[in-house]
Symmetry: C2
Subunit: 124 residues, 2 copies
């Protein structure tokens, strides 16, 4: 059976970001990183990481007593998928109105656009 949609929820994404930073991580690693910013229980982190494994975002492997987790996909793959889903849902699939928003709300500046134009030149 297909794993449905299973998009990353906010808390799941927060954990994934930490794992991507590290390439590899234990529950304790992530637990301690999260603790810097907010109160959370160790078992909560464990549950989340187990869910992430079930959803196919993390792979685990036993090392001594603990599990070592690593990302199943690159950050670019996953973030790219989230971006596509967002554009589909909010902008009906076309990126141009998104860009209009970025420009009009000054989220993006002229010099960044120029930087992008240069980037396109390099790609092709």
């Amino acid at each position: 059976m297909r794993p449905k949609h299973t998009t990353l929820t906010p808390q799941e994404l927060e954990i994934m970001k930490l794992v991507w930073q590290r390439e590899t991580a234990t529950v304790r690693d992530i637990y301690e990183a999260l603790l810097e910013h907010r109160k959370i229980a160790y078992t909560t982190v464990m549950t989340m990481m187990k869910i992430l494994e079930t959803k196919g975002y993390l792979k685990k492997r036993r090392q001594d007593r603990a599990f070592i987790y690593r990302p199943a996909h690159t950050k670019n793959q996953v973030i790219g998928g989230m971006l596509r889903e967002f554009i589909d849902r909010v902008f009906n699939g076309s990126a141009e109105p998104l860009l209009v928003h970025l420009v009009k709300t000054r989220h993006i500046r002229e010099k960044d656009l120029h930087k992008m134009a240069r980037m396109i030149e390099e790609i092709k």
Copy 2:
């Protein structure tokens, strides 16, 4: 008390889009529009629109027997807020990596970037 976060969920957004298109709408209007694409109960739509009113996205006014709903905020305001929230959550607040994604995945084309550059010129 502050209204918490109350971001638009996917189904709520779907309804809001239809109301924005119409400026003003009854439950029946939206119900019939949604029916074109999927099976849904009239009361489901009613509940959703009531929630949208509670969250402050819709305003209602009685006309004869039925309520007439209208948007409490413009589409640009709300979509802009969603975009900002997305950028914060996924890209830690900076729009530039988002742009990089758009370019690399060919979601956005060179000519659109040029169009944007021209738009910036007009703004300032």
